[in-house]
Subunit: 300 residues, 2 copies
């Protein structure tokens, strides 16, 4: 029976550590600050944003939400970002996605100062992360998975890590991190065009699934002793739940649990790590603001 | 017996096409210009630089070499780059590597304007290439391999591409390009820490080797019908050659040729493609200079 990798508990420990580091930084006169820009009134986005700023406050950081109307113009949004880029009390800026269709999200993300881009979506940060530069902000979900593997003492060197999915915010940065010097994993990245997916997943010492499809990975698709990291977040109807649904991942948890060495549950696995890494990135931004980060890519 | 993928011939055809496009651009008043910055007197670097500027001139582009003394200071080098960044007649800038040890090569590469970084080594270009943005300059060797595969009609969708080596200028960008939508390959990246390398290389539909180690890949390590791209460039002593050596790749060419469907020779395979892609990137830079590329990351 697989060990359960408890993301909620790992997050709790990490947030305690972060709170101490925030307190030290505050003692030296700097309170790390995160500003979240939310456009429109999407209830799910409102909930995410509220939980992010709440998590900041709980750690002793400053969390601020700027809620702009659904029909805000690109120019108005850029002016808000310009102001946050220039504000020395704001160390991290996050634009909640998705944006309304009239706003060009790529141009918006590129308008953030890369030194404050705590989501790690600016091309400068993507490039620095790609080359393994320690100044990079690494996107929160892959950074959280790396942290989980480290804290669970799961070795990666020379291991075969198979990643299912090729998203730009989870799978591709994760592949890049895992194959780099240090983690030293052998990495295979699979996706919808992969023929005979099971022939790859069965080779995995560590299997990471980030597709968004319930039961994509069944027990016959993994080898005994595998470590499974399930990034999927899927709603399934559940009348016994007060909300009418429950969350499940991309793997058949109950069956794979009998074969695996360790597995992340959904909920309570990768999910809680993501906001924790956002807090860690904001702390890193506040620290780096004190030394010049000397980065290319200041906004014009 | 494998088909030989003739990089020299593919390059010749591409350069004819590029020459036509250069002529059209010149008719509209723009002559693409490449400036190569060479520090010191390393004979190998001098030869590379000369062949690059000569290739420019042969295509109707302007090629210029700035040869700085071995002991040039960082400040002097930055001033030269600033001048090239600002010069509208210079569309592409290339700093020949390696630099003398007293010059911080990362900071030097980040000092290039990303719009003129035709080697694709600036973090902004690495990031744009990583996310598949068409504005990116892709490093020349991986770009050349993609072009070879296309022009040889070697399908990649759903194929298993195994890459040996994890360098930042060849293997990692190539993995990123091959797994992206369009090429759609399943990609495995292996390196010195991979255990049982042959168990991976034997799975390859397309095997790409970029390590720099003669005979690293022997015939028993590939499956029949594989396509082999050999990026290795190794000198071996050869008394029958006037130079006293000859160049070989990373794979056992003579033996693998009997099993493979197609294979690149060394020399005459990947090598000639690299300078051709530098010419293509310089043309792209000249074209993009006409429309604002609207990139993040102007130098400060």
């Amino acid at each position: 029976m697989a060990r359960i990798i408890d993301g909620t508990e790992i997050s709790r420990v990490m947030r305690e550590e972060l709170a101490k580091q925030v307190a030290e930084l505050r003692d030296s006169g700097v309170t790390p600050g995160l500003s979240v820009v939310l456009v429109g009134n999407n209830p799910a986005s409102q909930a995410y944003v509220a939980s992010k700023t709440r998590a900041c406050e709980a750690l002793g950081m400053k969390g601020q939400t700027l809620n702009l109307p659904e029909d805000v113009s690109k120019e108005e949004l850029f002016a808000v970002i310009d102001r946050l880029n220039a504000d020395p009390a704001v160390h991290g800026i996050l634009v909640q996605l998705p944006l309304p269709a009239h706003l060009p999200y790529k141009a918006v993300l590129e308008h953030l100062h890369p030194d404050k881009d705590v989501d790690g979506f600016h091309p400068v940060n993507a490039g620095l992360a790609f080359v393994g530069d320690p100044r990079a902000f690494v996107p929160c979900t892959p950074a959280g998975i790396m942290e989980m593997l480290r804290r669970e003492s799961i070795p990666t060197r020379g291991k075969h890590v198979v990643i299912v999915g090729r998203s730009l915010i989870v799978s591709k940065p994760l592949a890049s991190l895992l194959m780099a010097p240090g983690p030293d994993a052998t990495v295979t990245l699979t996706h919808r065009h992969t023929s005979d997916l099971a022939s790859y997943t069965r080779q995995a010492d560590i299997l990471i699934v980030a597709v968004g499809k319930q039961n994509l990975i069944t027990a016959d698709m993994v080898k005994p002793g595998v470590v499974v990291i399930d990034v999927g977040q899927n709603r399934v109807p559940d009348e016994s739940s007060p909300r009418g649904y429950r969350m499940v991942g991309d793997v058949d948890f109950d069956a794979i649990r009998l074969k695996a060495e360790a597995i992340t549950p959904v909920p309570g696995g990768v999910g809680p790590m993501t906001i924790t890494m956002l807090l860690a990135n904001t702390l890193q931004a506040a620290r780096q603001a004190r030394q010049a980060r000397d980065l290319p890519g200041s906004p014009r």
